[in-house]
C-alpha cells in the first residue's frame, strides 16, 4: 500500500542521533535496503506519542480557526458586521471539513495519473474510501508512521483555515451564500492542487522505489514546512483579488471604521499563537526534537515580530498600539510558518524582526497607494508575510546559518543533502510565483463569475445597516 505524506523536502538532522532513536525502523532493515520488495509499514511502526501529538495538533489548529481567527477578524469590524464575520469563518470551516473528507484529501494526498499527476491527486480515496482505523501515513522518517485518520484530520484543519483567511480582505461587504460557493470552488480548483504540488510525495520508504511519485513543486525542491505558500500566499492573493473585484466599503476613507472590540482581536491573536504550535510543530508529524525546534521557532519569531511592530508604532506615531503588536505577532507567525522546521531560534528571531516593517509598509503605504480596501489586511499580512517567509526559508534553512538543510530521500535510508542557497532561493521564488499566479488567476475568474451572476455584494442600504441583521437576522450584542 502506497502512503501519502507531507512536505517536499523535510528537515535534515544535525546528527544521526534521532535516526538511531527509531527502533521500529531498525526492525525493518531488509525492507528498507531492498526497495524491489514492496515496503509494507506495520502497526509496530506507529508510536502512540506521535499519534497523541498529531491529534492534539489537529485540535489546536481547529482552535486557530474557531474561535481564534473568527475573533481576530471579528474584533476588527464594526459591531453591525460582527456576526457576519463569525458566521463566515465558522461555516467555511464546516463546509471545508465536509469537502475535504469528500474529495479534498484524495485530490491533495494521493498520487494522480497521467500528465496531471504532478498537479493534482487521483480519486482513489474519494469519500475516504480505503482509509480505516488501521491504515497508516508516512512521516519524514524512515520506518515511522502515524494512523492515516490522524493525518487526514490534521490536514483537514489546514483545509479549514486557509479559505477562512480570505474573508478578511472583503469583510463587511459580501453576500453570504455566494461566498460559500466561491469557497467550495476555490478549494477544489486552487487549494487541493497547490497542496498536492507542494506537499505530496510517496514518503521516505517508498520514494526510492517510486522516484517520481511527488507533486510538481515538491519535485522542484521547494520547501514549505507548514504552509507559507499553500496557506498564506494562496489565501492572501485570493483576498486581494476579491477585495478589488468587490470594491471598497461604502464610506471607506470618509467615515471612521474603528475596530469594535480590540479585546476580541487580542483574544483571537492569542489563540492563533497558541494554536499555531499545532500548525507548525504538528507539521513535523512526529513529536521529537525537530517538533520542539519548530515549536520554539514559532514562539520566538512571533515574539520578535510583535516587538518589532510595537517599536515601529512607537517611532511613527509615538505610541505602541495593541493592534500593532498583535498584527506583528500574526505577521511573525505567517513568516515563520514555512521556515519553522528549518530555521534555528536565532534566525527565526531575525525573520520575525524583519517581517513587521515589511508588512507595516504594505498595510499602510502600499494599501494607500494601491487604493484597494483590504479590510483586515489579508494581503498585507498573510500574502506579503508568506512571501517573505517562503523566500526567507531558502536562507535560514542553510546549515551554514544553523539551519536544518534538506534530506535526500532517494536513497533507501534518507541522508542529508548538500545545500545550495542560491538554487534553493530560486526554487522558493518559483513556488511563490506559481502560487500567486494560479490562486490569483482562478480567484479573479471565480469572483467575476459570481459578481455577474448571483452577485457577491449586498446593496448599499444593507451595508449601511450592517450584514448581521440583514444577512443573518441577528445582532451580535443586546446589552
Amino acid at each position: 500500500m502506497k502512503q501519502s505524506t507531507k512536505f517536499g523536502l523535510a528537515a535534515g538532522f544535525a546528527g544521526a542521533a534521532l535516526f538511531a532513536a527509531l527502533p521500529a525502523w531498525a526492525q525493518a532493515p531488509a525492507a528498507a535496503a531492498a526497495p524491489a520488495a514492496p515496503f509494507v509499514p506495520t502497526a509496530a511502526m506507529v508510536n502512540k506519542g506521535d499519534t497523541a501529538w498529531m491529534l492534539v495538533s489537529s485540535a489546536l489548529v481547529l482552535m486557530m480557526s474557531v474561535p481564534g481567527l473568527a475573533l481576530f477578524y471579528g474584533g476588527l469590524v464594526r459591531t453591525k458586521n460582527m456576526l457576519s464575520v463569525l458566521m463566515q469563518v465558522f461555516m467555511i470551516v464546516c463546509i471545508a471539513a465536509l469537502v475535504w473528507a469528500s474529495w479534498g484529501y484524495t485530490m491533495a494526498f494521493t498520487g494522480g495519473s497521467g500528465a496531471l499527476a504532478p498537479y493534482v491527486g487521483g480519486f482513489g480515496k474519494l469519500f475516504l474510501k480505503g482509509v480505516d482505523a488501521s491504515t497508516l501515513s508516512a512521516t519524514f522518517s524512515n520506518g515511522v508512521y502515524i494512523p492515516e485518520y490522524a493525518y487526514v484530520v490534521f490536514q483537514m484543519t489546514f483545509a479549514c483555515i486557509t479559505p477562512a483567511l480570505i474573508v478578511g480582505a472583503f469583510a463587511e461587504r459580501v453576500k453570504f451564500t455566494p461566498l460559500m460557493l466561491f469557497m467550495v470552488a476555490w478549494m477544489t480548483i486552487v487549494y487541493f492542487p497547490i497542496a498536492h504540488m507542494v506537499w505530496y510525495w510517496a514518503g521516505p520508504d517508498f520514494l526510492p522505489a517510486a522516484p517520481a511519485d511527488f507533486g510538481f513543486l515538491y519535485g522542484k525542491g521547494a520547501r514549505d514546512f507548514a504552509g507559507g505558500t499553500v496557506v498564506h500566499i494562496n489565501a492572501g492573493i485570493a483576498g486581494l483579488v476579491g477585495c478589488i473585484v468587490i470594491g471598497k466599503r461604502v464610506g471607506y476613507g470618509k467615515e471612521p471604521m474603528p475596530p469594535h472590540s480590540l479585546t476580541m482581536t487580542m483574544i483571537g491573536a492569542s489563540l492563533l499563537w497558541v494554536g499555531w504550535f499545532g500548525f507548525n510543530a504538528g507539521s513535523n508529524l512526529e513529536s521529537n526534537g525537530l517538533a520542539a525546534l519548530a515549536f520554539i521557532n514559532t514562539f520566538v519569531a512571533t515574539a520578535a515580530a510583535a516587538v518589532s511592530w510595537a517599536v515601529i508604532d512607537q517611532v511613527k506615531h509615538g505610541k505602541p498600539s495593541l493592534l500593532g503588536a498583535v498584527t506583528g505577532a500574526v505577521a511573525g507567525l505567517v513568516a515563520i510558518t514555512p521556515a519553522s522546521g528549518f530555521a534555528s531560534p536565532m534566525t527565526s528571531i531575525v525573520l520575525g524582526l524583519l517581517v513587521s516593517p515589511l508588512c507595516f509598509f504594505f498595510v499602510t503605504t502600499v494599501k494607500k497607494l494601491g487604493k484597494y480596501d483590504d479590510s483586515l489586511d489579508v494581503f498585507g499580512v498573510h500574502c506579503i508575510g508568506g512571501i517573505f517567509g517562503a523566500l526567507g526559508t531558502g536562507i535560514v534553512a542553510d546549515p551554514a546559518l544553523g539551519g536544518q538543510g534538506w534530506i535526500d530521500y532517494t536513497a533507501p535510508v534518507a541522508k542529508a543533502g548538500v545545500y545550495d542557497m542560491a538554487t534553493q532561493l530560486w526554487t522558493q521564488a518559483e513556488a511563490v510565483g506559481i502560487t500567486l499566479g494560479w490562486s490569483g488567476g482562478v480567484s479573479l475568474i471565480l469572483f467575476l463569475a459570481l459578481k455577474y451572476t448571483v452577485g457577491i455584494r449586498p446593496s448599499e442600504e444593507v451595508e449601511h445597516e450592517g450584514l448581521d441583521i440583514n444577512e443573518h437576522g441577528e445582532r451580535a450584542y443586546n446589552y
Partner: protein
C-alpha cells in the same frame, strides 16, 4: 436661545456635524437612542423565536444656539440628514432660558 433636538440616522452623523460646523455651530451633544416610528425595525430570529423589535437605532443631536441661528441650524440639519427614505428622523426646537459655561461661568450666548 433655542435647543434644537434632531433624531437622525446613525450613519448621517458625520455629515450633519460637518454641515453644522460650516454654519458656525461650535458645539453639540450626541446620544445613541432607539427610535420608534413609521420605519419598521428588522426582525430578529433566535432559534425560531421571532422578535420584531420595532426599535431602530438612531442618533440624537442636541444643539443650543442663539435665536438668530436657529433657522439655519434646522435647515442645515434637514438638508444634510435627508436621504428621502422613511426613518430620516425629526427636528424639534425648544426654548432655553439660560446657558452657562462651566469652565468660565460665562452665561447665555457667550456660553455656547
Amino acid at each position: 436661545m433655542k435647543l434644537v433636538i434632531a433624531i437622525i440616522k446613525p450613519f448621517k452623523l458625520d455629515e450633519v456635524r460637518e454641515a453644522l460646523t460650516e454654519i458656525g455651530v461650535a458645539g453639540m451633544t450626541v446620544t445613541e437612542v432607539k427610535g420608534f416610528g413609521r420605519q419598521k425595525g428588522q426582525t430578529e430570529i433566535y432559534r425560531g423565536a421571532e422578535y420584531s423589535t420595532n426599535m431602530v437605532p438612531k442618533i440624537k443631536i442636541e444643539v443650543v444656539c442663539g435665536n438668530d441661528l436657529v433657522s439655519k441650524v434646522v435647515e442645515s440639519i434637514q438638508a444634510s440628514a435627508n436621504t428621502g427614505a422613511i426613518g430620516d428622523g425629526k427636528i424639534f426646537v425648544l426654548d432655553v432660558g439660560q446657558a452657562v459655561r462651566i469652565r468660565t461661568g460665562e452665561t447665555d450666548e457667550t456660553a455656547l
